[in-house]
Amino acid sequence: MPTSDSRAAGGTRRRRRGPRTWLAALPLLVFTGLCFGIPLGAMAFGAVTRTDPAGGATRLTGEHLARSLQGPYLGSLIGSVQLSALTALVGGVLGVVIAQAVVTSRSKGLRSAALTASGVLANFGGVPLAFAFIATVGISGVVTQLADLADLGWNLYSFTGLTVVYLYFLIPLMVLVIAPALDGLRPQWREAAQSSGATGWQFWRHVGLPVLAPSLLGGFVLLFGTAFAAHATAAALVGGSVPLVTLKIADALSGNVLTGQENVALALGLDMILIAGLVMAVYLPLQRRSARWLR
């Protein structure tokens, strides 16, 4: 993703840009339009309109959006942002530390084992993950019983518990996305810094971190998005006791209790897109600024 933009800006690709190159992108554009555009349009339409159940007449209204930003719905949005930001931050930091250890170690075996394991674990989510945790550290879980975790105040079915479960797949995800960037840090830079008398800290402060910044931020955004959109794990684990926006949407859209909440669910979906858009708006300009180092 970072390369196409910067290469075009660098001029290497500019020559090939003819009037008809967009044709090659047409299948992608059509696919995007169908699979993202239409649902997005339908969602936005449903979020701002209301259909009279008896007559069938539809009119514009801001009521659903307003409701989605009040009371428990607002609470669920805040809860989701808090959980996603916290897990993305912790997962990001731990992921970088682990990836750096793997990348700098001289063992090829460790490297391939760690990356393969990360690939598997990063995709281990949903209900199976929740049940794996329930069986291990749930109330009657094996480890809980053996180590008397309950007496130590451990509770899997809480915000903390959910954070731990999310980190289980977020850390490997961070390792996967950041390892190539860490590989891109040329050893020569470090050697040059050292021969100029820089300490390790100074190298990271003035060279390493600025160069890595876009990748780190990109990883954070990816982790945030993954945690923000996660539903099945949380649904199986905490039910309604940790307010999360994805759970609220599910309640409103396909429940047995609340009727006539479909449009509020659509409005909540729109809120989620707006939040994701805000995060991207911070990420993209920063990424463009410093992506050129890592080609």
Binding site: L34, A57, S76, S254, N256, V257, T259
Partner: protein, 387 residues
């Protein structure tokens, strides 16, 4: 001002996109099964409001067999014995039952009716939570039809226009694994005792799951609340959460069997089913209907107004509300709506009745406005009480 045609256009585009990307087998809109077949007195099967419109049960069965199929949705085979009910119906009338998405919710059912209007795959009959039966009737989605046993259904449990009527239900009960819990709780007040720390679960989130909602309502009744005031129930669970007794794990057959939810507040027919299912597997599941919070709720049946198989849909209703259909529900530990009448005339399956958890008195039901208010309160306050 936006007209409904614009909305429908968007829906058509959306479904076209989904169909083309996800599956190649889109079903074209189907003509309503026309013709004069099966309907005597010039009444089409889709307009028939009772078996008299067909002339006789045999004529109804013949018309249904001509259609040959019945689309049902959201009927889990292990829920209230639906597996056996479907098999019995298929065997008796030689009609193929297409069971779609057994684990769907009431909201999914209504969505299927709306989005597949006029299609051959639309559900013919619906088994709905009461709120969805009422809202669906208000949206004019159901066909009025009076089954033969119509008069025996209590007035409080049917729509005056026969667009929906209750089918089966049960009481909120406390299931408890006596193999793990030394003394099983018998009342809501018992649940607060410190000995049940980390042991009490609901069947889901009450803003989504009907049985969990019933659990909160029952807890309200047990704590000086009423149908009009569910707040004490919410406070009760807040208290339960605060003292560490409540666990937010959704109780399922799996969590019950593994001992993850050793005490589970759920419908008595599900809890009684677990008792049977896990007998001899290290689970000694005891079921009590708590005397301090008696709350019953029934599901409702309705016929899709645009049912692709209108005669089969009506025959299914007649089957469900026959002695045979009602006893099959009873066999699944559910209490069919005609149970009082059948106990009186002696047609109820006595063995199955004996297996039901004991309850004193007859159930009362909240009226529509009370139910709406309870739900609004719950949606507003539940999160805060539990977090």
């Amino acid at each position: 001002m936006l007209r409904s045609s614009a909305r429908r256009g968007a829906a058509v585009l959306l479904s076209a996109a989904v169909l083309t990307t996800l599956s190649a087998c889109g079903a074209a809109p189907d003509q309503k099964s026309g013709g004069a077949d099966g309907a005597k007195n010039g009444v089409q099967p889709g307009a028939a409001t009772s078996v008299a419109d067909f002339g006789s049960m045999e004529a109804l069965a013949a018309a249904a067999q001509k259609e040959g199929e019945l689309n049902v949705i959201a009927l889990p085979p292990d829920w209230a014995n639906y597996g056996e009910i479907i098999k019995a119906f298929e065997a008796k009338y030689k009609i193929k039952v297409n069971s779609e998405n057994p684990d769907a919710s009431s909201a999914d059912e209504i969505a299927a009716v709306k989005s597949r209007q006029g299609q051959k795959r639309a559900p013919d009959v619906l088994d709905l939570g009461i709120a969805f039966a009422r809202s669906g009737a208000a949206e004019n989605l159901f066909a009025p039809y009076k089954v033969t046993a119509w008069d025996k259904i209590p007035v409080t449990q049917k729509d005056a226009d026969a667009r929906w009527y209750n089918d089966y239900g049960g009481y909120v009960s406390i299931g408890c694994d006596a193999a793990r819990i030394p003394t099983c709780p018998k009342t809501f007040a018992d649940l607060l005792k410190p000995e049940y720390k980390g042991k009490v679960a609901l069947n889901g989130n009450p803003t989504k799951s009907g049985s969990a909602f019933g659990g909160v309502y029952a807890a309200a009744l047990a704590n000086k609340g009423s149908f009009a005031d569910i707040q004490p129930g919410i406070d009760f669970f807040g208290q339960l959460k605060k003292n560490g007794n409540f666990i937010p794990v959704e109780s399922t057959p799996a969590t019950v069997e593994k001992g993850e939810t050793p005490i589970s507040i759920d419908w008595d027919y599900l809890n009684a089913g677990y008792a049977q299912q896990f007998k001899g597997k290290g689970v000694d599941w005891k079921v009590t209907v708590p005397a301090d919070g008696v709350f019953a709720q029934y599901y409702s049946q309705a016929i899709n107004k645009d049912a692709p198989h209108p005669a089969a849909a009506r025959l299914w209703m007649e089957f469900l509300y026959s002695g045979e259909g009602q006893n099959l529900w009873l066999k699944g530990y559910a209490r069919p709506v005609l149970l009082p009448a059948m106990t009186e005339d002696g047609t109820a399956d006595k063995d199955a009745v004996a297996k039901l958890p004991q309850v004193q008195g007859t159930p009362a039901f909240p009226v529509s406005a009370e139910l709406d208010r309870a739900k609004a309160t719950l949606a507003e306050k539940w999160d805060k009480a539990l977090s």
